[in-house]
Assembly symmetry: C2
């Protein structure tokens, strides 16, 4: 039987999602627990990966099991074995031909910053400290240029082996919070480090280091060296993963973003 | 010159406030930084201690320095050297006869719990997970019995060497939060583990394991074995330390608590 699992995790104490020989990873922790339950190795397959220190409020994986555990009991069985930085939100039986990686119809990432005269020890690992004054209107102006279909070469890691760097951004929203800002970005897919580079750039526009209206020219240049900064991992959250178009379109509608 | 310093810290990664030969402590980290600046050992003296995993939103210490740093530069100098789980909020020069430990006119502790079907990885270390249904009115009823002057032998660690276990509680308030409850307790002073034992007891009353109206009898019994539980450290915050009566009375007034 194949099961689809919805999880969330706090990335602070993980060296990313993907299994590594050394270092604690989300996949490593989950596979260790499944292996113990099945008395044999069990491999999980995720909708996507997150880097070291990056969080997920919604992430999916699937795995195969021959254990005779009723579907309704799986969530509790897994949660009671999980460490306190991984939570299991849903477990459902699915078709054994289903592969979660091929069902992504888009994702939402959130990036959180906080401001203030001094660092807040209680935001450690949860939001990025950004004490500099930023202009909301300049940031919004820069952000608007990324919405639509663009080649994001200038805004993704040069190390990425992926050749096609065209992605579609449905929306890029700025939300004022009690102590800073959240950036919400909804896209068909994202390149390596893309969200963190976009946010680093937008914050610099907000600070006045770049002119917002030069954004289209930087996109058009397709040159990664123009935008050298990458915002830290700790502020980044994989917020939602859309496994079908209907869910994605509903989310876009709720956020009042054109499809 | 003697300086009085106001700090906050996230206790998750500390083995408590007080210096220990092994293990990371708040005092150890601060003294390491001061020692480096002064090129000799510098001892700090705090208003109080907190246990392993316990947080402080407001804590004070003082230290002596012969460095020629202007008072206004100290905060920045210290903050730039501090780890990201300690923040320096204020540094002021004080009379060299002042000792912060003898100027405590009361404290506020906060205890935070969250509820929900599953653990929240983003509350890890910040709030205690308490998934059981609790009655607000039963908890409030139990809490009201602790306000006033009482012998707290039944609600403090039996290990404590302090003989006089009489303390005055100005107020014990229950606050509904977005995902649970905060307990706010204001007192002249607190015995070892007292807040954590009180909260564990009140939660059990809320769950229906104890009758709220039996509380005065448990206080009167002066028997620590009656209330065996201690709530975990991670939900506990030293919220305020009052260094003079005026500040304390203002706080009580703002919270509408009789002096």
């Amino acid at each position: 039987m194949r099961y689809l699992v919805k999880i969330s995790y706090n990335g602070s104490q993980f060296n990313g999602f993907q299994y590594q020989l050394e270092g604690r990873t989300v996949q490593g922790e989950v596979e260790k627990i499944l292996g113990r339950m099945h008395k044999k190795p069990v491999r999980i397959h995720a909708a996507g990966r997150t880097d070291s220190g990056v969080h997920a409020r919604e992430q999916f994986f699937h795995f195969d099991s021959d254990l005779k555990i009723p579907e309704t009991k799986w969530q509790h069985a897994l949660n009671s074995a999980m460490p306190d930085d991984i939570a299991i939100h849903e477990v459902q039986g699915i078709n054994s031909a289903y592969h979660v990686r091929y069902h992504s119809h888009g994702k939402i990432y959130r990036y959180r910053i906080y401001q203030g005269a001094v660092r807040d020890p209680f935001e450690k690992g949860l939001k990025t400290y950004y004490p500099y004054a930023v202009s909301e209107s300049k940031m919004r102006q820069a952000m608007s240029h990324f919405v639509g279909t663009h080649d994001f070469t200038s805004f993704s890691s040069a190390k990425s082996p992926i050749e096609n760097k065209v992605r579609h951004i449905y929306g890029f929203e700025l939300i004022k919070t009690d102590n800073g800002y959240d950036f919400l970005i909804i896209g068909s897919g994202f390149l390596y480090n893309m969200v963190r580079i976009l946010v680093a750039y937008v914050l610099e526009v907000g600070q006045g280091r770049w002119e917002a209206e030069k954004t289209p020219a930087i996109i058009a240049a397709k040159d990664r060296t123009l935008v050298p900064k990458t915002a830290p991992a700790e502020g980044l959250y994989l917020e939602r993963v859309f496994l079908d178009e209907k869910t994605r379109n509903e989310a876009l509608e709720n956020l009042k973003i054109p499809r």
